[in-house]
Symmetry: D3
Amino acid sequence: MKKRIITLGEVMLRLSTPGHHRFVNANSFEAVYGGAEANVAISLANWDCSVAHITALPNHEIGDAVKRYLSSSGVDTSYLQFSPGRMGLYFVENGAMQRSSKIIYDRFDSVFANFDFSKLDWEQIFQGSDWFHWTGITPAISASAAKVCKEAVLAAEKLGVKISADINYRRNLWQYGKQPMDIMPELIRPSHLIIAGLTDFENCMGIQTDNYEEACQAAKEFCPNLAYVSTTSRKSISASENKLKGKLWNTETFLKSKSYRMSHIVDRIGGGDAFMAGLIYGLLHFKDQEAIDFAVAASVLKHSIPGDANLVSIEEVNHLIKGENVGKLLR
Amino acid sequence: MKKRIITLGEVMLRLSTPGHHRFVNANSFEAVYGGAEANVAISLANWDCSVAHITALPNHEIGDAVKRYLSSSGVDTSYLQFSPGRMGLYFVENGAMQRSSKIIYDRFDSVFANFDFSKLDWEQIFQGSDWFHWTGITPAISASAAKVCKEAVLAAEKLGVKISADINYRRNLWQYGKQPMDIMPELIRPSHLIIAGLTDFENCMGIQTDNYEEACQAAKEFCPNLAYVSTTSRKSISASENKLKGKLWNTETFLKSKSYRMSHIVDRIGGGDAFMAGLIYGLLHFKDQEAIDFAVAASVLKHSIPGDANLVSIEEVNHLIKGENVGKLLR
Amino acid sequence: MKKRIITLGEVMLRLSTPGHHRFVNANSFEAVYGGAEANVAISLANWDCSVAHITALPNHEIGDAVKRYLSSSGVDTSYLQFSPGRMGLYFVENGAMQRSSKIIYDRFDSVFANFDFSKLDWEQIFQGSDWFHWTGITPAISASAAKVCKEAVLAAEKLGVKISADINYRRNLWQYGKQPMDIMPELIRPSHLIIAGLTDFENCMGIQTDNYEEACQAAKEFCPNLAYVSTTSRKSISASENKLKGKLWNTETFLKSKSYRMSHIVDRIGGGDAFMAGLIYGLLHFKDQEAIDFAVAASVLKHSIPGDANLVSIEEVNHLIKGENVGKLLR
Amino acid sequence: MKKRIITLGEVMLRLSTPGHHRFVNANSFEAVYGGAEANVAISLANWDCSVAHITALPNHEIGDAVKRYLSSSGVDTSYLQFSPGRMGLYFVENGAMQRSSKIIYDRFDSVFANFDFSKLDWEQIFQGSDWFHWTGITPAISASAAKVCKEAVLAAEKLGVKISADINYRRNLWQYGKQPMDIMPELIRPSHLIIAGLTDFENCMGIQTDNYEEACQAAKEFCPNLAYVSTTSRKSISASENKLKGKLWNTETFLKSKSYRMSHIVDRIGGGDAFMAGLIYGLLHFKDQEAIDFAVAASVLKHSIPGDANLVSIEEVNHLIKGENVGKLLR
Amino acid sequence: MKKRIITLGEVMLRLSTPGHHRFVNANSFEAVYGGAEANVAISLANWDCSVAHITALPNHEIGDAVKRYLSSSGVDTSYLQFSPGRMGLYFVENGAMQRSSKIIYDRFDSVFANFDFSKLDWEQIFQGSDWFHWTGITPAISASAAKVCKEAVLAAEKLGVKISADINYRRNLWQYGKQPMDIMPELIRPSHLIIAGLTDFENCMGIQTDNYEEACQAAKEFCPNLAYVSTTSRKSISASENKLKGKLWNTETFLKSKSYRMSHIVDRIGGGDAFMAGLIYGLLHFKDQEAIDFAVAASVLKHSIPGDANLVSIEEVNHLIKGENVGKLLR
Amino acid sequence: MKKRIITLGEVMLRLSTPGHHRFVNANSFEAVYGGAEANVAISLANWDCSVAHITALPNHEIGDAVKRYLSSSGVDTSYLQFSPGRMGLYFVENGAMQRSSKIIYDRFDSVFANFDFSKLDWEQIFQGSDWFHWTGITPAISASAAKVCKEAVLAAEKLGVKISADINYRRNLWQYGKQPMDIMPELIRPSHLIIAGLTDFENCMGIQTDNYEEACQAAKEFCPNLAYVSTTSRKSISASENKLKGKLWNTETFLKSKSYRMSHIVDRIGGGDAFMAGLIYGLLHFKDQEAIDFAVAASVLKHSIPGDANLVSIEEVNHLIKGENVGKLLR
């Protein structure tokens, strides 16, 4: 029986300068679509889960293109909403060597930010679902986005659907008059799994500590259903070379993944979402240690693939975990 | 002595699907910059006029790229304004055969629309200038854009700078609560040259007639400085083949250009701006008949060039007028 | 209520030389997927019909890519079959001017040609379906392909599903030891709609006549359910300029479409399939004359789009029929 | 028995702006190699003649690339000479519509212009050869190039090898202190076939007349071996549409080809060389009328192919002559 | 006096996804030609040996393209055979970081596999030749390919031509009913040089040992003419970083190359063939230690070049061996 | 108050093979413009200095393109000279791994080399200027280039403008009959800053020593205004990985920068010019240690950017110096 996962969040058009060109002399942009939650949806659909993504899109051809894009990975698009308005965008300049990568966001006032999702029947959507995934980006965008997020979380909790929250605090969002602490705690409270670092804990849950385990314990006290807290740690040697590892707290102990040296990085955007998807998949199908190992290895492989989506198979992730076929030529 | 021309208007990032690909399966977009008034500025600068363009741009790398783009054609960028906010965009799908070309605009709430230009010293700007050019797009965008347009027009009138107004009525703009008839008449009134069709006359000046000469006469009554009215007529046989001609009313008579068959069109966007620039250049340097001939021939050549800007020389326009070198291989 | 259509046939990887390059100096190939019947399926799915395509694909990444491709247009892929083996291919060299376009097929011994479809439950597949579409390419490929085609046709007939047959006789196929006349008549017999020219009638139904109406009458005598016969007529002035028109015989009279001059052709492959899809859509939703008009206009627009698939909307087809927006720039 | 043809002339690196981009905003150049005589050599080698091309090239990688390029078409490269120095270049901007195409030459002081060919053993080279082809470009380049041309022509005459001379007068060349009339007459004198228009006759043979037949007669008087004079006539409707026809004087009568309308031109450079090659091939294998028909049809097809070389088969040329398969899709 | 080398084997069309794109989202494929033995031929021809490659190709344009490709490197194509049928293909997905590279072969039932080479006159072919090279891929493809391989090997032995055999055991081939041990031993027996690893020895010669020297000794006993055995050792740190070294057994001792760290790998396909070519060249021109050093350095440089062929000069290989100019900018 | 810098030197068209392709199989070249001194000018203009570059260019479209290119970075182009003639060129093949990068120069006999700059009014040019920069490439090109360089240097000295000389000795230049020691000493004598290595000191100043400090002291004795000597040290591990550091002698002491490991190099051409620009900027705005740190960090970042020009901001250089944001993803 396939696992059923529901994801909610904005999908944007990502426009990247080709190769290592800078914004100021780009004559073209490579176009893909992406969004933290949709990236998770695509990973899970590629791994043969049943996944529906919920978002709102402009009712013009570029909105249609997002539908085609999600459909191509087998994501259920029956809950997509279309309405007049603009598409959120972001521009990407790929760094190289010591030079940073840059994102210029242009996502305010999008169809997603303005959409009234009140006609969605969340109980019907969650019928038969195993998991609901959201991120802290959604409630940061607009009051109406925060509202739909809250409705979804409460409905999921009511129906016993497990909830994962990728806190993902970004100061530059949150421009509609609310502060994270006004909104986030009640959204996070019903979570089964939280992805958070110390900054996220502090800004979105008011947990001030330099000790990650203390933060987890404090989160557990606040979140009655909390079963897992997880985070990754990335060291940027250069834009082309990073180190990555992850850890998972299962309320009892910390499970740690191997640390991977990632050299010759192709595209690091979506690396966190690949981890998230790997962790959801792992917790739905594997033991805890296997889950964190799977999540980190999935994230590592994402860095070798252009675009937001992590087009790797379960078999490829498992090979990396076992150290098999690494970088070989498979005939 | 070089002629000095001032232009005012938004510059947008234009994102075009490659070749004849449709929006729904575009994997990249070709990027150029464009805007009706900036396109005019670039033509005139290429023809060795002294041209300054006035606009407001985001204070990030893509705003910088616009500055570089205008500078590369020799447009004076010293009045460019930079501020936080977004860049106006438009997406283009090039038609072919009977299939139409399409533009999806995404220009609302841009830096230009929101910018407070009140610190500009228009009298200083117009010092030594011969001509000021604006279009009906600017007052349609926002109250502040309409305001700066009004200030510019009044200052130009006061200093005896000739004014050209490309009425360019677009119903889809005008979303900030004002109607064209609330704003446009007083902006148009001081014009020396108006580019308008019957629809423009009706919607922006309240002149209701099916007779173009009557419309011109009515405009002349309303505009004390009016010396010229002009328009082009385009027949679309297909996206790849159009016919184009122009006419110029000099308050006494109608001067007509030759009609050109344009087959194998490369890019028709900016064709009207190329005409506009040709007419300004012509009226500043030539006799009336030569001016309209120059304007139409410049516009025809624009259709052979990718991008918004009309990168043709005065010599090339003159060759086309005389029927010399047409489509030849020049060694 | 959406119409439900089932299509059956091989999908191939199409590899086209870029621009107008010849095979002998191609350094890359543009890759799309295509097949006569899948092209019909995609058109109908784009027009919001419920369409399932049935085929067999290699169980490797390129087979997966076909699934993604069909899914992206909303085609139901639940009946796709995967098995070890090779993908059928065809190489395309786009002509220009007087130079012909060329196809080199490399489709023998493909997974589709060798697949044993006997486990398919055709009655279940046709449950609730309105139409079944097949072409004469399938029975020409292999004995097993002819067998599945026969099973499908007979099941459709039994369940009262309307059947369209695009005869599409190609002498170069038919290499497995059977002649068209051994196989085709019984497959064609239950048809509701036949697309055929005189060569098709002669080779696949044994109807020898130079009079198209006579051929139609003879077909009607042989096919008890036959309601329509249709064909297109194409005149190639050059690879870049064709004329196209269509006609439809509804057992009583011949309905003729307008003749379109198609200049500046972008890609003519799939033009016939676009006609076929337009005719199926038209006969399911419109009156007879509207149906043939829709089919031809849809085919004309296909010629403006790169790739096999006809990515145009119903609205665009209708605009062309009415002569609206033809080749315009729509803002 | 294959015909053996020797050609002599400079090969240059051709750098073309992509698509319809202008020189001023080209970010890349497409690179092919070309030269009037080498283009002829390649055509003839593609048509299964035995062809050796003689030239001098820089002894660096770009010179090597020319050798690889000629070899790939089967041209015998054993007489290629390598030496330090520069490669001749030319930059091409493809016109479109009424806009002309442009060539910027950068060929002075090349290895070919400076090379001392005196060690070549022309008698050995012409052993077993049927034809020698040169053009008026070579003696225009430098004194040493004129010298090798003269040595070749005299050796060919001595050995009874037929000589074709494509006069191809270009005023911009001839910068080394000699005038065409100082050099050309003695080079032209031994010709079997001359390609020339009235301007060529006037400038390179001193034949001043507006009557083409008179010019031919005058040439015949001067050239004792002259058997044929030929020329093409091109009408440029636009850069994308030309008309082309050719005629051949066989000392008795004028044979004329059909006139072809060439619309949707891809690349007209090399069109004259394709005619030349077609005429040599035709005169070596066919009757006179067939030869001129073959030459013009070959030239027409060249216009559909990117690059200098005419990559078409004899079969394709013959199909065009007969009006078969014109612009069709061949499966 | 140039060395003359004969190579025999299939040439395939290689279709690679661009950059680091995966098969499932490739919109184009880069096209080159390659085959283990032809890759060797091209290396040797680039190094100014006289090389003829023998293969069979489809008699259509893509077969012609292979001829052009081999000719461009100066490989003698006079023994190429053309016949109706298909071209063998392989699809390549370039890995990156820890992600493996992948090849999907589609080579069964090709013209080469089916061709009857019995009309080849091997004695004539080997006249004046110094070396014959074949690989274990050929006899694995089909009975007729095994047959021509046997004929060639026996003729070479008879005429005293040195033979190199790259065993290259691949389990996925060998589908025509024979086992390697049925065929390979008698083909390997006359070898002068064998490239083999332990798996190759076991599967193709029945030599079972974990000791490479023992394997060499056993091979020597079986092969009376055997003078050399060689192999490379590759360590894959990632798809982008490998280590490579080689060794050569000259029946007396093991000569070892330096071990190279290869970071920033561009294309590793053809790396083994570059080694093979280097070794043949080395053994024909240098002392044993120099030969193995040359072979490994040639292979290292191949990894920096896109495509199957190793386009490096002898001088470049020698510079690497000496550690001169490594990675410098040469002006 | 912006600093005013004048630069003098040739600008060339740089033609680079795409990706890691070799010259022999390049089908296109990426085109940018570059020249040692213009690269410095662009860096300084990007850092908001007032910079005028002086050169001579062909009076055709490619000369115009250079003007556009310099203008786009804000370089003052009012002293550009245009004249008939050729553009200097250089071809670039990007190395990878152990394979070297290669430059083929084709710059002789260019407009710059031949131009008579005697009408330039150097006193007017230097009015209000702070710095003049030249390199040893200019006097190496031609007698007239050496002459203008001398005039400029003497005028700068007279007006008290600081002079920097990048000695940059290249043996392959200097082909017009003069030796460096005939020309260079008097040009170098008035320098404020010299960039030189031991080879430069020896060949252009006659200072023979292996001790860099001794060389500096000797230079100081010869150059009365000398305040600084500087150089960089580069270690090439491979074409993709280098180490770089720099040092600055301020007549009292040696200041050394950090040593940077540069892996994943994108384009090293222009790295030295980026250092030069950084040092000029640093010495004009910062303390000595900060200046050398700034210069080396600017050079490191250049290696991450395609093209000759160093498109990085002061802020980015400062971040690298402080180790902030290195290789991060900035949102």
